[in-house]
Symmetry: C2
Subunit: 396 residues, 2 copies
Amino acid sequence: MGGPLSGLVVLDLTQIYNGPYCTFLMAAAGADVIKVEPPGGEHLRKRTVAAASRLPYANLNAGKRSLRLDLRQDAGRDILLRLADKADVLVENFAPGVTERLGIGAGVVRARNPRIVYASSSGYGSEGPYRDYPAMDLTVQAMSGIMSVTGFPGQPPVKAGPAVCDFMTGIHLYGAIVTALLERARTGQGGHVEVAMMDACYFSLASNLGMVHAGSSSETTRTGNRHGGLSLCPYNVYPSADGYIAIIVNNDSHWRQLLAAFGQERLAEDPRYRTNADRVRNMDEVDELVGSWTRPHTRTECFERLVRHRVPSAPVRDLGEVMLDPHLHARGMLAWSEHPEYGRLVAAASPLRFDGAVSRPERPSVALGADGASVLAEKLGLSECELATLANDKVI
Amino acid sequence: MGGPLSGLVVLDLTQIYNGPYCTFLMAAAGADVIKVEPPGGEHLRKRTVAAASRLPYANLNAGKRSLRLDLRQDAGRDILLRLADKADVLVENFAPGVTERLGIGAGVVRARNPRIVYASSSGYGSEGPYRDYPAMDLTVQAMSGIMSVTGFPGQPPVKAGPAVCDFMTGIHLYGAIVTALLERARTGQGGHVEVAMMDACYFSLASNLGMVHAGSSSETTRTGNRHGGLSLCPYNVYPSADGYIAIIVNNDSHWRQLLAAFGQERLAEDPRYRTNADRVRNMDEVDELVGSWTRPHTRTECFERLVRHRVPSAPVRDLGEVMLDPHLHARGMLAWSEHPEYGRLVAAASPLRFDGAVSRPERPSVALGADGASVLAEKLGLSECELATLANDKVI
């Protein structure tokens, strides 16, 4: 037990990535998260027939209890509402209008329990002309402009590899919920909080939006791994003997340090490269030059030289390396663990660190409905007989 | 006034994107955010000599007060510590060790004011072997594996266009701070919260990490705009007469709807494409086919057909379109405003929506040190004479 959110009860109706990341963070911070799933399980759980979905499912649903509940039956809806009467938070990321159709919308729930924080998330929000557009990470990446600024010039737009729209939204939703709980501590009243995926991504495009604002053209350009405004050089990803290395030269001291790192001090006073303005003017040439210095060495050799000379840089690592990263394991962000259903896997902790403590839920993700009986007995006092009837009617 | 965080005083020592996004969200939620800047202003403010940095600066620093303070002078440090005695939150995103060297580390500040929440953010965290590695959005994108999964197969890795590592971290930091404030409401004690950029990005790679977990190889592959696991088809970005359109077919009903959208119903029973497994097997052919249907139409025509037939899709929009988006303006996420220094610009609201209210700070970002005298008079009761001495000594 313990954790800053301990004692809070969260009804979690979410699915896939966005909502479940939000409630994972709540579980890791000590909340009692009751994952309410439809009879077949939530979408991501259903996908765990494929091995590739098991790690995401396990990590995102660690520390949560599972209650199977058919909300399309009156008895199921009734149970949900009675649970909401005793809960502190209800979280959902259905398409707008779905909870209202199920009879568990914010209006109904908040009328019964004014202390509850009801949290909703969707692609475009519950209002506005795009409200009912279908939304998934890929489509929001397209609509939000993320794709338009990702990739190489002269080539098609490309999505950011990570599901940035889903996860950006999940953590915003967490922030909104906890903010409303803080206000409740003062006023005694809950509220309805909402985060749209489109909104949650907007600020991350700050540099690129700044370029649009500054320029006369509304067209955005892709700059590959170069600086978004093409106003710093070197700023790129360079080839090495065994992969790539990212290097940023923010100022002329960094440039001289970079020269020293590769024994090129003789270029320090070369007028073609002396100032950032000079280097930007000769960007192709400078990038070619830097690449010729990095290419003979491994990523690690390059990185060690650059760190020694205090030049901002990093190897481009693949995810196999990241999952086994000594730093992430040393700090407890990652740890090997044995999952009862999925076997040995790398479990991830919450990125939120309170007083240095690592928050990684001890209890692994559980099978569909594993906690149904105990949750309903504990929260609603249902008897064995009532539980048997509900199970018989396929409500739970 | 108003807002769920009203009444809270936040000392904001942050710079560029990560920290300032966190404190922007606090200001938008009603907190009194005092931006403490070095004599020359924070890095992003200095960059506003270039037009492209003005919009980001204005949006990220709206609603904050500005206090110029030289922390390297004893008198400056003393003022900071006295302000911290009366503050609820102190936020900083310096490299690890910097606040300690300045004499304003968490230990010193929390010993004087145990109610304060001290919040720190850095690239790799305050512990572990990579602690002192230089960290910026680009280098963390390299190190975290984001680049390795972004881009087209057979081509170099590429960064995600938006500054995802910076902004992901800023919103996580917000979540951590508000969580600690909620705990303080119960215990009376503040705490030290921390978010590392590496940690904050990790979960967004869930799908890609799942592939690594499932496969025997640790090598990650780039799939361009195709599904990360190459297990859904169509799932791609297709050419249109005036740009690109993203389309996702999650199941065989979506496939039939897609056929109907483009008058291709005759293919419904074609054994090469009938099930998702069939289409995945013939992925190149299917992508070619879908592209031939979308290519003659504009993005808008394609999107309208697809929405009408309920196929998940979205046009790939550029940022000029996003900044003028009727939906974002209708919902109040964006609004034209007149900035006293930078002129007419599109101001952005907080993505956190409480009870339907739009939270966009009314007061625009201010000039460096604009609120120094009023903050110091109000918080520390400094006299005109004392303020004049501090100004004369270049402390403020």
